[in-house]
Amino acid sequence: MAIPLKYNLRNLVARKASTGMTAFVIGLVVAVFLCVLALVQGVTRTLSVTASTRNVIAMRVGSQAEMQSVITRDQADQMRSMPGPERTAAGAALVSPELITLINVPREDGKTYSNVQVRGMSPVGFEARPTVKIVDGRMFNPGTNEAIVSKNLSKRFANLNVGETLKTGSFRWVVVGLFDAQGSAYESEIWTDVRDLQQQYKRDMYSSVFVRLPDSEAANRYIETIKGDQRLKLEGKTERKYYDEQMITGAPIKALAFLVGIFTAIGASFGAMNTMYAQVSSRTREIGTLRAIGFSRRSILVSFVIEALMLCLAGGLLGIFFAFLVFNLFLTRPTGTMNFRTFSEVLFNFRMTPPLIAGGLAFAVAMGVVGGFFPAFRAARLKITTALREV
């Protein structure tokens, strides 16, 4: 017969200080775990969300990132004449030769600087990316040195609000609009007209060509066509594949998250185990009595494991609460990390999702099982006679 749950619950309540402290510790650990996972989730989402298998990015063979690639005007013209791309209502093919550069811009505090990617695109470049929407102001006009900026970026850096002028070196751009790219990697970029950018940089070349196709099969055929063209010497990738490869950027953060998660979990399990051992040793007589009135070893074992589980579950819930507090108070702004391939900053938001929350609870439960099993095992093995004799 099983020992009623009420027995465990009352025991936990009776030792308020010790229970509270252990649950609190587990709460902290779960909160840390959730924060690092939310970070990983944020990075992963930034690089995977909205990257479509319908879009193709063409670069010079061997380039790992758009910034490293060089495409000549001739190559771009050749690509414009290739069949396949989707067309606008006006009949223009959605093929956008683009130039990517880095600029050094001051942060909002004005004291420190960071590197941000600037993307010069053809007028159809914006239409080729239907997931990107202007949320404030308007689109830039070619030939006027105007730019649009991701809304997230404008929060993190100085002089990037609508109407402000971005100055760097001898270049000037007037910000005329803010865009939202649904959390994708484009939210770490400044967009302007490719000819304006080429003129400012005195460069007569492009970095990559962005092409939108009717569906992913057409995209694959298009990639094959590029590969097959001996004169072109370019390499095409779907947008999805390109950003999957950039995912490497998130790897250090992921490794860090797992390191921290594993270590803190083991540490906290020891803490929980300690509390449960103390519970068992201070209740030796009680356990003897339970055995004497007929509860089996197994019910004792189960009962103590359940008690540990309750303790850790309380801690887990507390941890989720802490994590929510941290998210809503401190982590409301986007965070950045460096993309090693381009030396530019990638912005992302911490993301707490229901599976993550479930993961946090499962993490707490796992600590409960690990922390509760050995003390419970000891309790179950007590001999009735010695247990009852204990003072």
Partner: protein, 388 residues
């Protein structure tokens, strides 16, 4: 000190409990040592703080924009400049695209590089001389050379990314410095290639100023000189230059520090819980000790020392584990991930050891404080009357 034995015995009275508590300290301290060392590795200063006289000139718009080589002579002529070299970030692919094969690749001028600019790096004069004489030769940081097992005379091929050129280089020998994740080869190797921009551009200029006071003047003079040219410059001290990369990881730093603080707080609570449990069980004993003539101060000292001793033991083991087991294991195991490039400079420094010691003592004192005060305030009669 004469009571050390008593404190020692009390710490090990309940072996299991002490073991578990110390284990959580071990784990936490291990983690903190790893995280701190990781941060240090990421922030590795190539000169170990001695680079105050060195400046980096980059394009005002930011990295990734070339500077014309014609600027070299004009920079050289500025009074106070000891030596200057153009440097170019080659960014080629070694072997394959896997992150473990990532290497920092810079072209420079060997005639002045180790002799006059990066002069606090250690390099065998014979190696330096041979490197100068070998146009396709390269020198590598000792750690990165060891990582790839390069022997003198080995050929490596770096497949160019933004520079359409495959560099075929010969390993000459190692140098040692704070940052050993880079290799250096001749500017001339690039200049004599068929790259369209060869002999025309550089990525940045790296220079040394004869004394620290002249640094701001020289930096301002360079930027002023090119202000209205096609390629305006931004001159930074070596430290500021490094910082712009760290800046991009600024949040990671904040995160690591935040995590460290929270888990320290958690482990303090775990230790406090243990010390409190053990003090509670010994109420009668403490009352007896008081009757025998030990003062309140003694009791306070005993309990506090127990907590500190326990956390020091845990901390000591944690540092040992981190230094001799986990960090070597991480370096070996993570060699295949993209964090491997930070791990080149991944070492436990003296300041990290000092930090670990301070943290252990701190956790002990914070955790032992409340239980110790409580025990010392206990009235003898109450203590003797209490049945545990």
């Amino acid at each position: 000190m004469k009571y050390f034995h008593l404190v020692w015995k009390n710490v090990f009275r309940k072996k299991l409990r002490t073991g578990l508590t110390a284990s959580s300290i071990v784990i936490v301290l291990t983690l903190i040592v790893i995280l701190t060392s990781l941060l240090e590795a990421m922030q590795a200063d190539p000169s170990g703080g001695r680079g105050a006289n060195r400046l980096v000139v980059q394009h005002a718009t930011g990295l990734g924009n070339f500077l014309p080589l014609s600027q070299l002579q004009r920079i050289q002529q500025i009074p106070g400049v000891v030596a200057v070299t153009p440097e170019l970030w080659f960014g080629g692919v070694y072997k394959d695209d896997k992150p473990e094969n990532w290497i920092g690749q810079l072209s420079t001028n060997p005639d002045v590089y180790f002799d006059k600019i990066f002069d606090d790096a250690k390099i065998d004069p014979a190696v330096n001389a041979e490197w100068k004489a070998t146009r396709n030769g390269f020198v590598a940081g000792e750690s990165i050379a060891k990582k790839h097992g390069w022997k003198k005379g080995d050929h490596i091929v770096l497949k160019g990314t933004y520079i359409p050129l495959n560099a075929d280089l010969v390993y000459i020998g190692p140098y040692s410095a704070g940052d050993e994740s880079n290799i250096f080869f001749h500017n001339e190797y690039l200049n004599q290639s068929d790259w369209v921009l060869a002999n025309k551009v550089t990525g940045l200029y790296y220079l040394k100023v004869d004394n620290g006071e002249d640094v701001p003047r020289v930096a301002a003079a360079i930027d002023k000189m090119f202000e209205n040219s096609d390629a305006p410059t931004k001159t930074l001290t070596e430290k500021q230059f490094q910082l712009q990369f760290m800046e991009m990881m600024g949040n990671v730093k904040l995160l690591i520090n935040g995590i460290s603080l929270i888990i320290l707080f958690a482990v303090t609570l775990i230790v406090a819980n243990t010390v409190a449990m053990s003090a509670r069980e010994r109420v009668t004993e403490i009352a007896v000790m008081r009757t025998l003539g030990f003062g309140r101060g003694h009791i306070l000292g005993f309990i506090l020392s127990e907590a500190v001793l326990m956390s020091l033991l845990g901390g000591f083991l944690g540092v040992l584990l981190a230094k001799y087991l986990f960090i070597p294991a991480l370096v070996a195991g993570a060699g295949k991930t993209s964090i491997s490039i930070w791990l080149v400079n991944f070492k436990v420094s003296l300041s990290t050891l000092a930090l670990a010691f301070a943290v252990s003592v701190g956790v002990g004192i914070l955790a032992g404080f409340l239980p110790a005060i409580q025990s010392s305030r206990l009235r003898i009669v109450d203590g003797l009357r209490k049945v545990v």
